[in-house]
Symmetry: C2
Subunit: 557 residues, 2 copies
C-alpha cells in the first residue's frame, strides 16, 4: 500500500496550471487536503476557446466550462473556493489570507505547500479614454459574456493588437457579421513571426474584409454617446461601436512580489526546474512564471496552455514523488493561429529575435505542397527553418499555408526538443501516402536545402540586388516571367534552355537566379556555378507574386 504523508495544499488560481496541479496531486495522494482559491466564478474553463464562442463557432457556452466546483469535488475531492482572492502570504507561518469577494470576509488558510497559478492579465495601458465600457479585454468567461452581449451584426469593431488573440477575435467578430479594423503597432501581424511569413496572413485578412492598420498604435480613445473614436499615433481615427484590446499580457505576480518571492526582469515569478519559487514551500506554474528557454541560454516566458498544464504536473510530482520527479525541461515557444482559410505556426526562435540577441544563425525558406502534388487538393505551404551555423542545430521554424501547418510545426517542435540538426531533418521518415504527405516531405526538403547551403553548394540571397552590375536571371517559363516580372532589370532564360544559353550571360559579372518557389533557381545556380559563374539563388522564390492558392509545383517550365 502506498503511503504519503497527508499534506495541506493551497492552490491560488484554478484554471490551466492550478487545475492540472491539483488533479495530479490528488492522483498522487488521496489523503492530502487540496483547496483551490479562484478569484473568478469559474474553475478549469477553456480559455483558449473564448474567441470561438464569441463568433458562434462554439455554440454552447457550457462547452467551455470544463469543470465546476461540484464536479471537481466529485471527481477529485478538491475544495474549491470561487470568487475568493488570495490577498497575502505569511510565509513564516505558512498561511495565506483569502478574501471572499461576495461577503468581503477574510480568513487565513494554512498550507504545507502553496501553488501559485495566478495567470496573466491583459494589458490595459493608461491611455486617455481607456475606461470607456465599450473597450474590452478577453481573459475569462465573464469577459466573453460581456463581449457577446455587446456585439451584433453590422457593428463596427476595432481590434487593437494583431497577436494570436487579436487575429482570432478579428476572424470571429467578422464571422458574427461585424466590420473589423485591426490595428498593430508593428508593421506586420503576429509579431513573433518574421515579416515575410506574416504576409500570407495579411492577405487572407484583407481578402476576408478585415481592414489592417499596421505600423500604427493607439494614442487615445474618445468616447461619445454613439461610438468610441480610436485615435491612432498616425493621426488616423477609427470609429467603433466596440474595441477589443489584445496587445499582450502581464503576469499577475503582485501577490508573489508582496510576499518577497523572487521575480524576473519582466515581473514573472522565478522558479527552478521543479517549479519551486525562491521559497521551497511555494511552487508556481503557468503564465505568471518564467522558465528556462529550451532552445538557447537564458530565460523565457511562454503564456500558453500547454506549458502551464505541464508545469502544474511537474510541481505535483516533485511534492509527492520526490527524487522520481522529472524536471520541467523549459519552454520552446510553440504557437499556431488559424485565420479564415490560413494557418501560421512558429516554434523556437525567429530571425528577428536572433538578430536582436546578436545570436549567429542561418536560414532557408522552402515551398512545397502539403501532400503529393498529383493527389487532388494539394495546397502550398512555406517553411522557414533557422539553425546554428557551427553545429547545425535547429533554432526555430515557421510555417504558413492552408493545410498541414500544425503537423509540420509539431514535427519541428519535436526536432528542436530533441536538439536535432538540419542534417537530421533530411532523414526523418515521415508518413507517406498520397492523401497525407509526399515521399520527400517539405520538412525533408528544408533539411536538404539547409545542407546544400552548409556544404557550399549554393549561396542564397533574400533580397534582389539593386547593383546593375549583377545579372538577374529569371528561369521561370516565359508566360509566368512576363505576367509577374521581378523588380528591376532581369533576363528570362527558362531553366530547360539555360545550358544552351550560357553565352547570353557575362561570366565576369555576378549572377542571381530566381524562379517561382526557389527550387528551379537553385537548380540554375548549380548549373551556373559549375560553369564558372559567381552565382547566388534568390531564396524562397517570387512566390509572393503568384496566387498563393496555386499549387507549389508548377507544370514543367
Amino acid at each position: 500500500m502506498e503511503q504519503h504523508r497527508p499534506l495541506n495544499i493551497v492552490v491560488i488560481g484554478g484554471v490551466a496550471g492550478g487545475a492540472s496541479f491539483a488533479a495530479r496531486a490528488r492522483r498522487l495522494c488521496e489523503s492530502t487536503r487540496i483547496t483551490i482559491v479562484e478569484r473568478g466564478p469559474d474553475v478549469s474553463f477553456a480559455n483558449c476557446g473564448l474567441p470561438y464562442h464569441i463568433g458562434g463557432e462554439i455554440q454552447g457556452r457550457e462547452a467551455l466550462a470544463v469543470q465546476t466546483p461540484e464536479s471537481l469535488k466529485a471527481l477529485l475531492n478538491l475544495e474549491v473556493r470561487t470568487r475568493c482572492e488570495a490577498v497575502a502570504i505569511d510565509r513564516a507561518a505558512k498561511r495565506v489570507q483569502v478574501r471572499d469577494l461576495s461577503s468581503g470576509e477574510t480568513n487565513w488558510l494554512d498550507y504545507d505547500k502553496l501553488m501559485l497559478a495566478p495567470g496573466a492579465s491583459p494589458l490595459r495601458p493608461a491611455l486617455p479614454g481607456i475606461d470607456d465600457p465599450r473597450i474590452f479585454t478577453l481573459r475569462n468567461l465573464q469577459d466573453m459574456d460581456r463581449i457577446v452581449a455587446a456585439t451584433k451584426e453590422g457593428m463596427r469593431a476595432v481590434v487593437i493588437g494583431a497577436g494570436f488573440i487579436g487575429l482570432e477575435m478579428s476572424e470571429q467578430l467578422q464571422r458574427k457579421g461585424l466590420s473589423v479594423q485591426l490595428v498593430e503597432l508593428q508593421s506586420q501581424v503576429i509579431p513573433p513571426l518574421d515579416a515575410p511569413m506574416a504576409a500570407l496572413l495579411e492577405s487572407e485578412l484583407r481578402n476576408n474584409g478585415i481592414g489592417l492598420d499596421l505600423g500604427d498604435g493607439i494614442a487615445r480613445f474618445e468616447g461619445s454617446e454613439t461610438h468610441v473614436r480610436c485615435q491612432l499615433n498616425s493621426g488616423k481615427a477609427l470609429d467603433a461601436d466596440l474595441v477589443i484590446l489584445s496587445i499582450g499580457v502581464k503576469p499577475d505576480s503582485e501577490l508573489a512580489q508582496t510576499a518577497g518571492l523572487q521575480l524576473g526582469p519582466r515581473g514573472h515569478i522565478v522558479v527552478d526546474e521543479f517549479q519551486r519559487t525562491s521559497d521551497p514551500a511555494i511552487y508556481a506554474a503557468g503564465d505568471a512564471v518564467e522558465t528556462v528557454d529550451r532552445v538557447l541560454e537564458g530565460k523565457t516566458a511562454v503564456p500558453m496552455g500547454g506549458p502551464a498544464n505541464r508545469q502544474g504536473r511537474v510541481a505535483a510530482d516533485h511534492i509527492f514523488l520526490g527524487e522520481k520527479a522529472r524536471p520541467y525541461p523549459g519552454s520552446i515557444g510553440t504557437g499556431i493561429v488559424r485565420v479564415f482559410g490560413i494557418a501560421a505556426g512558429i516554434t523556437g526562435w525567429s530571425e528577428k529575435r536572433l538578430l536582436a540577441a546578436k545570436t549567429p544563425y542561418e536560414t532557408v525558406t522552402v515551398n512545397d505542397n502539403h501532400h503529393a502534388s498529383y493527389y487532388p487538393g494539394a495546397k502550398p505551404l512555406t517553411l522557414k527553418v533557422l539553425w546554428a551555423p557551427d553545429s547545425g542545430r535547429l533554432l526555430g521554424a515557421q510555417v504558413t499555408g492552408f493545410e498541414g501547418i500544425d503537423k509540420r510545426i509539431d514535427v519541428l517542435a519535436t526536432a528542436i526538443a530533441a536538439r536535432m540538426t538540419v542534417e537530421d531533418l533530411c532523414h526523418l521518415e515521415l508518413a507517406y501516402a498520397p492523401p497525407f504527405g509526399s515521399a520527400k516531405d517539405v520538412v525533408n526538403l528544408a533539411g536538404f536545402a539547409a545542407c546544400n547551403r552548409r556544404d557550399g553548394l549554393v549561396r542564397h540571397i533574400t533580397e534582389l540586388p539593386e547593383d546593375p552590375a549583377v545579372q538577374v536571371v529569371d528561369v521561370r517559363g516565359a508566360p509566368l516571367a512576363e505576367a509577374f516580372p521581378p523588380p528591376g532589370r532581369s533576363v528570362n532564360i527558362p531553366f530547360p534552355t539555360l545550358r544552351a544559353n550560357l553565352g547570353k550571360l557575362d561570366r565576369n559579372r555576378p549572377v542571381v537566379t530566381l524562379c517561382a518557389f526557389g527550387k528551379m533557381s537553385y537548380f540554375a545556380a548549380r548549373v551556373l556555378a559549375q560553369n564558372g559563374f559567381d552565382v547566388a539563388s534568390f531564396s524562397g522564390g517570387m512566390k509572393a507574386n503568384v496566387d498563393p492558392r496555386s499549387p507549389a509545383k508548377l507544370p514543367n517550365p
Copy 2:
C-alpha cells in the same frame, strides 16, 4: 569554380530511388554522363498514386507521369533509355549489358559508377490457375491501365492481401462501383499493426460494404468463361470478375545476384551506410536493398518511396561529395493508410514483432480527441506506444482514428529518430489552438501514461480476467455500463461515487477497474491502490464497445 572528375554513370531503374539518384548526381556534377536504363516505358512515375487513378479519385493519368525522358533530358541532361533491360553486369570490365525490349538488340554500356534501383515486384505464387488474365497485380502505369480497362461498375472484385495496397485497392474499387471481397491470410487487416489497432479499420471496411475474409488464404484459382473462382484454404469459394493480388513484394535482385553481389537472407541487395554494394563501384537504393534498422539492432527492408528517394540521394552524395556525404541512418518503417473515413499509421516496431523477436518492451494505449474537445468536430483517436523497459526509449507507435493520424505518426517517427524516451513525450511542446490540438496532446498523454506505469503508479492489464476471484469494477456512468456491459461479472460503481463506496469491495481480493477510454479506470485504480487494494486498470478502456465515432471524452460521469 567547382571541379569534379567527369564520370560515366549508369542507373538501372528510373523510378523513385534511381530518379532521385540521377537528379542529385546532376546537381552535383554538370559534366558527368548519366544514363538511365528502365525496363518499362515510363520513368519517375508516381507509383503510390496508382490505386487512386483506378478509383477515379486522381482523374488525369498524366498527373502520375511525373517526368518523361524528354523532360529529364531538358531539366537534368539525362540520357533515358526506356523499354531497355539490364541483363548482365561485367564487374571486371565495369560494363552493363542492356537489351532493347523493342528491337531485341543488346549492347554494352561502360560505367565508372553503377546504381542499381530495380525495385520490387508483386508476389505471384505458383498456385493453380494463377495465369488467368483476370488476376492482376499493380506495380506500374501499364498494370494500372489494364485494371482500369478491366473494371466497371457492378463487377465483383476479390482483393487478396490486406496490406497497404490491398486496402487502398479495396477502397478505390468500391468507389468505382464494384463489389469487393478482401481476403487476408492473417486474422486482421494491415498485418504490420497490432490486432486491436486494426479493428477500427475492419469496422470501417465492413461499414462501407467491403466483405472481409480474415484468417483465410487463397488455395487456387479456377477460371471459367464467366468468372474466376477463388478457392480459399477454408473451403470457401469467392467468384470474381477480377482479382487483385496484393500479398507483398520481393526485391528484383536477380541481376545483382548473377553479378555476384552480396544479398541478404530474403534476397535484398546488401549495402553499406553510403548505399555501396559489396562492389564499391556499384551502389543500390530503394525497394531492392536492405538497410540498418534505425530502431533496434539488425537489418530491415522498407519498400516505401521515402526511404528509396533518400537512399538515392545519399549514394549520389557519396560519389561526388566524398567525406562530406552523410550516411543513410537506416529505416524506421513508417507507414500510413486511409480507408474511407479512417486512417491508421505505424512507425517503428509493433508489439507482435517485438514478441516474435523476444525483445523486452512495455506498452500503453491512450484515447483522446484529435483537437480540443470543446471545439466542434473533435474526433477520437487511439495511440499505442511501445518502449524499452530499461531505458524508456521509444520503440514504436501506432495511431488510428479519423483526423490528425498523420500528425501523430510524424511526431512519433521524429521522436524515434531522435532516440527519445517516453519521458520526453511528456514535454513535447506541440502547437495548440482549438482547431488544431489540445493543451495536452494525446502524444503528451501517452508519455504521462507510460511514466505512470514506469513509476509504479498503476498496473495495466490488456485482457479482462476470467478468474472469478477478481472483482471487475466498471466505473463508467450507469447508462453506459448498462448499454455496453463488459463480459463476465462486474460491479458498476461510477467513478464520482467510488470513494464513498469502497465498502462494497473486498480488500482481500484483487480488483480490475475499467471504463470507456482507460482514463477513469486509471483514476479509480489510483484511489483503490491508496486505499490498500491490489488493483490493475484495463488499458485503453472498453472503447471497442462504444460507437467509434463518439468523442473520446464523455460528459462527466
